[in-house]
Amino acid sequence: MDIITFWQIMAFSCIIFMMFMYSILDGFDLGIGILIGLVTENDEEKKKLFAAITPYWDGNEVWLVIAVSTLFAAFPAAYSTMLPSFYLPFLGIIILFICRAISLDFTYGGSRISKIPLAVFSITSFLAPLFGIFFLTVIVSGITIDGTGAFRVTAGNILSPGPIVFTAAWLLLLLLHTISYLACKSDGMLKERLLRCAKRLWTVNMALFPVAFVLLCQGLPGIWEKPVIWLGAAITISGMGLHRIARKPHLEKFMFPLSTLAMGGMWLIIAGALFPNIVNPAQQGNALMTIYNSSAPLNTLKLVVLFAMAGMAAIIAFVLFTYGILGKKRKKSSEVLL
């Protein structure tokens, strides 16, 4: 392996890790947005769920921002090909994120829950990951490249069962992950309802995941020879399998690490299915967008990777510190500022 290949792989790994961190941290923000209208029965319960995310949500989105900027700096050719190719879909996803952030600000005013912002928050919390994950799985399953070198999404790309079923499985896992987070932050009837919901989600997802995995990977050349794919699937299955055991009262604290493990497995599958491509081609022999032919020069790659690694370590430490101090019970009751 030559030196630039090493840094290209490192940059690719960093981006995957950043996306993993984003999915586990902002994942439960998004999940709460989806679940809030389904599992709560009154404003008090809704407030409890909001209190679990409001101090952290913008910090959680940091991971998406650094992943995007790292992709830009490390693989500028890929970045400048992908964005125009999916221009309006990307714009749509960004608008959803903007609406979500602002509606969150308006939903919970400290004393009462406003209905319209709550509806916007719930809808956008569902649509943003739905489209985001679907887009990612479409990239994995393969996209047509036209004569100008741009990617063109066709009906065949979108309507194939692999991306649709894998997206559904991932969304279910995201909800399971959210409940795992909330299990430690709620009590009483709300907690019972959440755990009942987790039981149903778990059953469906255990049945759905193997099908989704096979459908997504089938047809990708050489996919079954990649050990990382099998490792990813094994980790996801193990995480979810053990999650079932952790739903017992004295083991609940393990639910969140186990759903995080399962999420990690999903990202290993994605990374393995893509590598070394950044976008998989729909047909073999098409021009490829790989980490090798779309990367920045060596000195930029080194700088970006080293800085990103140091930065990620610092951010994780800072996030743990913040969750630690804000997770403690309040010294005295006070209204939330917003």
Binding site: A77, L91, I94, F97, K328
Partner: protein, 440 residues
Amino acid sequence: MDFTTLSRMQFGVTIGFHYLFALSTLGLTVYILLFESLYLIKAEIEYRRISDFLIRLLAVIFVFGVATGFMMPFAFGGNWSRFSNFAGSVFGIQLVFESITSFALEAIALGILIFGRDQVSKKIFWLSALLVFVGSHLSAFWIVSANSWMQTPAGYAIVDGRVVLTGFWEAILNATTVIRFLHVVVATWIAGTFLAAGISAYHLLKHSHEKLFRRLLRISIVPMLILTLFQAFSGHLHLLKLIKHYPEKDAAYEGIFHTVKGAPLYALGIPDAANETIHFAFGLPYMLSFLESGSFTSEVKGLDEFPRELWPPVNVIFTTFHLMVMFGVAMIIIGAVGNYLKIKKKLFTQRWYFLILLYAIPLPYLANELGWIGTEMGRQPWVIYNLLRTENASTICLPASQVAISLSFIAVFYLILSVIFLKKFIGVIKTGPAGADVEV
């Protein structure tokens, strides 16, 4: 309209809108840090009440700032893909550094500021205020550095038709980074002083929380004058840098079409690039030569020294620059009057001055927007000065119709967001700080 023009319009709308929030954020973080420091040292509850009130304002601004900031990286890749491909390995580094060093710091620490008052010690809370201050200012540094690199690129080589980084510090601290950063940061602080003074004036007019807002106004009025005066000086230093590194832009700012000895400094006028003149010009004779070199008779380079196709759009940037300066002068006068009233111990008795302060809140925002329009349009026809022309930086494979759709959508969407923001922001201002004033 072609793809490039539509993309320029879209970028102008998105960044112009986002900048309003970034500007307010920086200005407020200074105040929050100041009041948290005073609260930490003096333990007076009034300082905490002011700080809590400003944190509520910051929380609203920050959400809109973060949300609208998502559009920037999208535009770089989507509308300006040839620019991103050409310069991503230098320009992208600055965005990575910005997101890791500043956005992360700012966003995470802000969670403590908004929700952690009762959960953390005073020192940790103060530290959070410091981190939000540092994070937001670092963010400004990286963005200004990236923009300055586009104005005065350095630390690079062209290899296989793309920019390659050859010197990190040369690229980051290029010829105009430091002075432009200073100019931008001081502009945000001025916006902070005008916002704080305007809010104080509103409450003093309404006789609500008078003790607290007298304190906020008193603290704001001295820096208001000092910063606006300093801003005129930093602007001058910036122009001196331009003379050396970007002379055609300086000539366009000043409306100097022909190289001349003893050049006048225009204060007013209507530029006419087609006829290479300034109509109804009013200014000080010889003053531009003096300001640029210290001699009243020195030569000032005119636009005629450069090929016409490389001229920036003179009419626009002369106008925006001079309007910015006029707003700047207005702000200096408002600051000077306030300090005069303060010295005469009449600051809190003049209702007319409160009204001026209230209606002056938009002034620094307008000056900032005009300054940026001048800066960015003044770089035309280049995206990266002397390296990449705007017409060669936009995306090829995307039809103009898609940008027309996105531009229309964004324009309407941002209009709605503006209404929502103002409703919330004004609501927070009108509500004022929690609790009642404490009489000592």
